[in-house]
Each structure stands twice: as structure tokens, then as C-alpha cells.
Symmetry: none
Subunit: 401 residues, 2 copies
């Protein structure tokens, strides 16, 4: 359904909706006839919830499309990710509370390793420590280019944020990150005539950085991607009438939540802390988005068992969640990250939807192949989860007389 | 997904995709509680492939829509058949390597039988031989109309191609083939003011033809349909980055492949020869479209058992296909042709999709009712098969950061 259509039907209620995103939840068997990560996990509480709710596989963007974390989350939040596109740079800025202004151009940076011929050896510079990152960013902060202000902010490990602030900047410039190794970083080229100036600033900044970093192997070069400017979108509250809280430990996910005007709850790195915050803020909000990062990281590392363990750990918190007496619970991922592939994938994502008004599917287990048989079907559009949640939370008026 | 959207995400790979189209694959039971043609067939190799892959029923155009071969194939090739419409005339021209030019108007012709009152007795003139057709076409080639060049090319049996070449021609004129018997052929009328001239040429040509043919019963009249001009579409390779080969013995299917810029492999009339060509050209292409005609012809003849036999024959070639080590295999039809109905039908078409990155459905049999339980679901849009194939062949980039 169109966001504008849903928005017109919204009504107030005291009901509460919880969206629990287990990042990269969907998986694949390691052997053709084996079980996926979720199918292997011992998750008695999720299984029990699945038996009382309705299940399916959701499609974050569309068939065959591998979503980045941005599009994957936007669709869960009810925003069509093809219509609402945002660059990685803006997301990174929002995630660290950077005061991004209207004209600013933001980019996501990586420290990387190159060889003597300039070929990329490691796109993440061996995942240097955040401490090392902090030091390198302070060095880069010394770079001055006439006509523009440059901000460099360290993120986690090898990641940083670059922001240009000045007159007549444009984000229509190409990535320098080739997303591959064994090749040189790309030049950042203007994609429109008016972005030539910005592209020149970036070229100059990269030249200076590469000189400064040359003796800092493994972090002897930088890669930039996702040049972007802050979009102006209707907020989550305007659209759905929900006072919302985002409980997410990683900047990226706080970033996208802030873009929709959600309230950001500061949390530590453990699942336990996230559920403590959920309980603490329970009375203050209508909608809670809880983000679990470990499952995706395990998948990206190709660690099947660790991904299983993260899912099993999440399962332990389900009784605590139920004790809070929510009206709607959605458990899903923003995309699949099979340990077999070590990367985001296009496979549809298991989804468990519970409210006391479900025609329960009575499935025995929350797993990919079980979800095929669920009443949400094998290709449920992720953007329809919000309208479904609002309906079950009695937050949508009847359409038509 | 939109073709343009998919196209932007394409990336190169050495992977290979095979699309095996068993024309008119979907069927119906002869008795209400019986089995369909596919369900009756002994197809151990396809069954085994189905158990390792994912299955479903695909919708070539939309619910309730009976597709012609053109739309049925376009959707399998990832082109929305409602957006990308092509007339039968153009397809016929492409299928025989006719050098159709930009301004030309092409139509598909049938020799037909009419009675003394001009009522159609047989739309196919008793399926006259191709030899007889050749003779009749040379007679029609004698017709001269001032202001326009007329080309008549025999196709198989009762079919021929008519092409008008001249200034300011338009294909917006109506069919003369009523697609029914016991009625007179229609007049070809202009559908826009600028097509009046073309419609006049056609009326004159039909008058002349009917005089010339009056003593050639059963081929004593002609029917024309699918007036059309060559469309300008982005090619299959531009869209998907695939170097593609079409292995099809019938002109119609070579025609549609050529329209998308596929490379046409000349083959004989047997399935065996098609698979020999597949092996021969295996290293030269990324994408192979193999077309099996016999299943549709059997369905149109109402020959249930012959259709079963054709499907069983195809099954024998699956091991040979697997020996080539493709990355993705799709087995489906361009539409259903139940022997019970003796014609194309609107029923969704069984589809078997295999790659080593499938969450296998573990179905026991590749058949219509089994496919309902598959993870592609009972209404999988045929145009989403190409994005799905590209994803599994690792030929699509991630969308968004």
C-alpha cells in the first residue's frame, strides 16, 4: 500500500507495536539438503510465538534484489525503498548525531590497504581498531582545502564520515570505492555539470589523504562512497501517528531511524541492554524498533554457528518482551545474510507477526521453510508490514463508508 | 521489478543461466479428479531437480489472462508484456529473417476456407502443406498496388507473412481474422486517421487475393492479423549484461529472440538437436533459451498422451544439461495449453528454479499441484524470473547502502 493512503487512515490508540529486527536473519543451508541458521536454532519462545501468530517470508525490495541496510530498514518502516532513497553518507552522519545541514555533502569512508602499485589489498584495512581509526581521523582533519569546510568523524573500526560544507555543493559524484580488491580505487567523477566543483574538492582531498597516509599501512588509503545530501521526508510520526523509539547499538541503524524522526535511545552493545532500555521506556512510546546486529555480523563473517547462537540469545528475551504486554510483535530481518555467502543476499526474509487478532498459522517452528507455509505467504512485501501492524493495533480507520 | 531498475544493478560474472521453455507446459486433468499432463508424466530427472530447487506456478501476464506466445515469452525474458507489445506480423517477419525496415507494416496471414456465402469454414484451410503454401504465395506475390511495395513470404503450413513497404504507413489497423468460424472475415479498418491509407491498401490487397484464390479451395481466402511495426526496445544484453543464445526450431520463437538481440542458433526440429547445439555453444554464451514446441502442439491438438510423451522426452535431457554445470536452470512454459481445452489457457504455469543457492522446497514431484506448495508461490510473476536468475547467478549488485 502507498504510504500516503495509509497515512490518511491513521487513528490514535494506546496500543503498542514492537518491531524486532534480527539483522540478516534469513539464511541458507551449508549443505544443499541441510538446515538454515534459523532452522537450526533452538528457539522455543519464538517457536511458541510463531504457533500463535502468522508467518511468511518477506521481500524487502523485490524478487532477486539484495538490499543494503538502508533500503531493508526503510521498507520495514513502511517507506518504499525505491521511492525513498538515501545515501550511505547521510546515514553515517545521522548515526553519530552529526549536525548535517541542508547544503552539506556527506560520504561514508573506509580506511583501506593498497599495495605499491595502488591496488586495493583489503577494503577495510584489516578492520583496524576504533582507537587507531580515531588517531588517523585526527590526522586527516588537518587537511584544509580553500572554499570548503571539511569534517572527518571516526565511526567504528575502519569506517569514517566525511562531510563537505560550502556553497553550491552537489552530491552527484561517483564513488571511489570499487567494492572489489585487486583494482585501484576509482576517481570520483561529477555525474552532472553542477557537481564538478564538489568532485574537484574530493579529488584534492583524496590526494592529500593518500600522501598523509602512505606510511600508515594497513590503513594507507581511503575509499569514499554514498555521497549524499539530507533528504526531506514525512516523518514516521506524521505518517503513522506513532510516537516511536529506536533501540539500536550501531550508528547506521540509529541514523536511519533519526531520518524518520524516531526518538533514539542510547544503548550499549549487548542484547541485554537493549531489552533493559525497552522496559525502561515502555510507557513513553507507541512503537519500538529494536535492532540486533550480531546475526548479520556473524553471517558476513561466514560463521554459521555464531549466527545460530545470536538468534538463540534473542529467543531468551521473548518472554520478557511478552511480559510488557505489547499489542503487536513483528520479528524479522532487514535482509538475509547467509553464512554460506558471507554477504547480504536476495533471499526473502522470515517474518513472524503476532497479535491477539491473528488467524494463527499453528506452525511448529519459526524457520524459512516453515514460513513458506505461513499465511503471509512466501513473498510478502515488507512495506505492507506497517499497515498490517497498525491494523492489528487498531490504529487504522475503515476505508470508505 | 521494473526492467530499468534491474538493469542498473547488473554486474558481470562468468555464470551461466539456462531457460528451458516447454511450450504450453501447464495443463488440466481430463477428468475433474485426474492428473494433468505434467502430473502424469514420468520425469525422474525433473523431479530430482525440483526436490533440490524451488518451485511454484508463474503468471505470464496476470490472473485470468491467456497469453499469446509473444507476451508469454517476453515476460519470461523479463520484459513486461503489457508495456512491451509486439504484433504477430513483426514476430513472423523476424522469425524468417525478413529484413523488416523501420517504416514497414507487417501482418501474419492465414490461408483459410470459406463457403459460397463467404463464411469461414476453417481458419487454417485444413492446414495445407507448406509446398502448397509456397505455390499460393507465389500467386499472391503477383498482386501490385500503386504506391506501396508488397512482400508475401510463406511460413509453415497455412501461414504466411505480409509486409507493406512505403511512405507514411501505419499499423493502427484492425485484424481481418475474426478468430472464429461460421462468420465472414472482418474488414480491416483504420483505428487512427493516419492509418486510413494503409487500411485502404490492405482492403485492396484482400479484394485481389480473394479473386485470385477463389478456385483454390480449401485455401480460397486469406485472414490477416497482428498488423505491426518493428519496435525499438533495449536489448536483452543491454538490460541484463548477458550474451544470449536462442535455440528454437520454430520461426516465431526465433523472431521474438531476435527482437531482443539474442543470437539465434539454427537447429532442426528435434529436441535432440537442440541439446546438441546447446553443448556446442556452451562456452560462447551466458544465457541459453531453449524452446520445446511439441508440448504446445500436442496440447492444441487435444492430444493429452502426446503432450505427456513430449514432457517425458525432455526429461531425458536433464542429465545432459546438468553435465554442462550451469549456475541457474529454469524449467517452465510460456503459458498453459491443456489438451482438454485444445488451446492456450490462463492457468498459471509450473516453474522449476534451480541453483545451488536455493532454499530447496524438497518437493517430490514437479507438477502443478506440487508447485502450489513451493516457495515461489502459486502466482509468481513471470517477469520476476529473470531478476531471480540474475541474483542466483551473482549478476546483480546490492541495492543501496
Amino acid at each position: 500500500m502507498e504510504l500516503e493512503f495509509i497515512s490518511k487512515l491513521k487513528k490514535q490508540s494506546k496500543s503498542k507495536i514492537v518491531l524486532l529486527v534480527i539483522d540478516g536473519l534469513g539464511g541458507l543451508p551449508l549443505q544443499p539438503n541441510g538446515l538454515t541458521e534459523l532452522e537450526s536454532a533452538k528457539i522455543p519462545n519464538l517457536d511458541s510465538l510463531a504457533s500463535k501468530g502468522i508467518c511468511g517470508l518477506q521481500q524487502p525490495v523485490g524478487v532477486g534484489i539484495t538490499p543494503g541496510s538502508g533500503p531493508g530498514h526503510l521498507s520495514l518502516f513502511g517507506y518504499d525503498p525505491i521511492k525513498y532513497q538515501v545515501g550511505r553518507g547521510v546515514l553515517a552522519a545521522l548515526g553519530i548525531n552529526f549536525d548535517l545541514r541542508e547544503q552539506d555533502v556527506a560520504a561514508r569512508g573506509n580506511f583501506c590497504s593498497i599495495d605499491e602499485n595502488g591496488m586495493i589489498l583489503d577494503r577495510r584495512a584489516g578492520r583496524i581498531s576504533t582507537d587507531e581509526n580515531n588517531k588517523l581521523c585526527s590526522i586527516l582533519q588537518e587537511i584544509k582545502i580553500p572554499g570548503v569546510n571539511i569534517f572527518i568523524e571516526p565511526l567504528k573500526e575502519h569506517r569514517f564520515l566525511l562531510v563537505l560544507r560550502g556553497e553550491n555543493l552537489s552530491s552527484d559524484i561517483s564513488d571511489t570505492d570499487p567494492q572489489d580488491i585487486g583494482v585501484k580505487p576509482f576517481e570520483s567523477n561529477p555525474m552532472t555539470p553542477k557537481s564538478k566543483k564538489t568532485s574537484d574538492y574530493i579529488k584534492r582531498f583524496i590526494d592529500e589523504s593518500s600522501k598523509i597516509l602512505q606510511d600508515h599501512y594497513p590503513a594507507n588509503m581511503i575509499l569514499l562512497r554514498g555521497f549524499s545530501q539530507k533528504p526531506k521526508w514525512p516523518s514516521f510520526q506524521e505518517n503513522f501517528g506513532l510516537k516511536s523509539a529506536a533501540i539500536a547499538s550501531y550508528p547506521m541503524y540509529r541514523g536511519i531511524s533519526r531520518l524518520l524522526g524516531m526518538n533514539i535511545i542510547e544503548v550499549g552493545n549487548t542484547i541485554d541492554k537493549e531489552f533493559i532500555e525497552l522496559e525502561k521506556y515502555w510507557n513513553e512510546f507507541d512503537f519500538f524498533y529494536i535492532h540486533i546486529k550480531g546475526s548479520d555480523s556473524a553471517g558476513e563473517d561466514g560463521d554459521f554457528n555464531r549466527k545460530v547462537n545470536v538468534i538463540e540469545e534473542v529467543d531468551k528475551y521473548i518472554p520478557k518482551l511478552l511480559d510488557l504486554n505489547p499489542n503487536v510483535i513483528i520479528v524479522t530481518g532487514d535482509h538475509s545474510t547467509p553464512a554460506l555467502l558471507k554477504y547480504h543476499s536476495w533471499h526473502p526474509v522470515p517474518v513472524l507477526f503476532w497479535s491477539k487478532y491473528c488467524r494463527s498459522d499453528k506452525l511448529n517452528h519459526f524457520g524459512e521453510r516453515d514460513c513458506v507455509k505461513g499465511s503471509l505467504g512466501p513473498h510478502f512485501p515488507a512495506i505492507d508490514l506497517m499497515p498490517l501492524a497498525l491494523a492489528h493495533a487498531k490504529r487504522l480507520k475503515k476505508f470508505g463508508a
